[in-house]
Symmetry: C2
Subunit: 242 residues, 2 copies
């Protein structure tokens, strides 16, 4: 049992780690050393209170934070256990297109092919949770890296949530950035596919021949409302997502 430094005993010069952090370290150390393997049942809060001389709220906070971080599992009425080795999900981070281009040392530029109000068609209505024929804002951009087209952005925006969309300046601000600034709590869902380019894509991305492209369908949500849906097309031979 290690020695726990009480806050009161200590000199002001070197502030000790808070007690709950010390408890967390103690638990993690036991897990790392193999002393407490996966599925091991930890001592109860009451036992730790007694053994460590720390109040239950503090013990509880430490165990709660380790649980939130995925290290422990707690079952009310049963106990606290070392979490099973987790099958972690591997995330691919997607940056904004302008950030990707600038990070590569390129110059970002955005051509606005159109930006208008139009009646929504069936497919887009389903994506946007709107009814077919309803008016929707639609934009069609081509993003360039030092002049070379690297992404086509075909976007629908719900007029109710973003009435000012058509008046925005997209040469200095991407639509994604604009949306994120307006809605701090925006979340996104993605579907990634591969497809070969068709005549439309070849035209706007200035491709000479049929090319394999990454197609990302991104929906932007505010709670249960779909604020915007975009189809992003990247020519596979011109850009890599990292």
């Amino acid at each position: 049992m290690p020695h726990f430094i009480s806050q009161k005993d200590d000199r002001p010069y070197s502030p000790p780690k808070p007690l709950y952090e010390q408890v967390k370290s103690y638990v993690l150390k036991n897990m790392e050393s193999g002393e407490w393997p996966a599925y091991f049942q930890l001592p109860s809060e009451h036992t730790l209170v007694r053994e460590m001389g720390i109040s239950r709220m503090t013990i509880h906070r430490a165990l709660r934070e380790l649980t939130q971080a995925g290290y422990l599992e707690r079952i009310q009425g049963v106990g606290t256990f070392v979490a099973a080795p987790k099958k972690q999900r591997k995330a691919i981070e997607l940056s904004e297109i302008d950030d990707i281009i600038r990070r590569r040392g390129g110059r970002h530029q955005c051509d606005v092919h159109f930006l208008q109000e139009e009646p929504i068609d069936n497919d887009a209505a389903a994506m946007m949770a709107m009814t077919s024929g309803e008016e929707v804002y639609r934009s069609y951009f081509v993003h360039r890296d030092n002049g070379l087209p690297v992404m086509l952005e075909d976007r629908y925006v719900h007029p109710k949530f973003m009435p000012e969309y058509l008046e925005s300046d997209f040469t200095h601000l991407t639509a994604d950035t604009l949306l994120s600034q307006k809605f701090a709590l925006l979340s996104h869902s993605h579907v990634v596919q591969a497809a070969v380019s068709n005549a439309e894509i070849n035209h706007f991305l200035e491709l000479e021949t049929t090319t394999a492209c990454i197609v990302i369908n991104r929906k932007s949500w505010l709670g249960d409302d779909v604020i915007s849906a975009a189809r992003l097309v990247f020519p596979g031979n011109r850009i890599q997502l990292t």
Copy 2:
């Protein structure tokens, strides 16, 4: 000011959300509505205690959890503020292939085409931080969803870190899962591209014609060491990544 349901008043039949969750919802609602915009200074804990009739520890827990989640920023001695709109990175979560297939209701199966020790070539040596000609473990798998090939997995594994690789059973456990189980702290980096299939891919994925594919190059790191590198090829017309 909304009405906060005290735990004691309530009937046992419909347990109310805990008070700290109600405080979190209240804060988030004010943020969503624009009432509390970015950089807005929230009422102090003491004020919230008075106005809501909730104890400081409970208020504090709610604000702490929102801070940990990135919604608020707190400065000791100064106050609590709505966090600046973050230029958030949009993550695509990649599940393991067997999880993707099972989630779709399919049956996962893995064909082992080869699993051997071989001298590493130049390109792979660069990826694995090894020297050309050194012995490396290499595996070549095709994953199937109800019999249909949906992913080709061409993988190199560093023998020093995983000497038991060649003896493992890959019909019930993916290589990724095996690695994650052995190395709990494994991290990954990804490069995503699109490419059209070549003769090799057409053969192993049983594609009739040239097809657009998603190609993910995944490196698995333990600290600064590359444990494994894999090329994952998904036929774009058979699978979507979500």
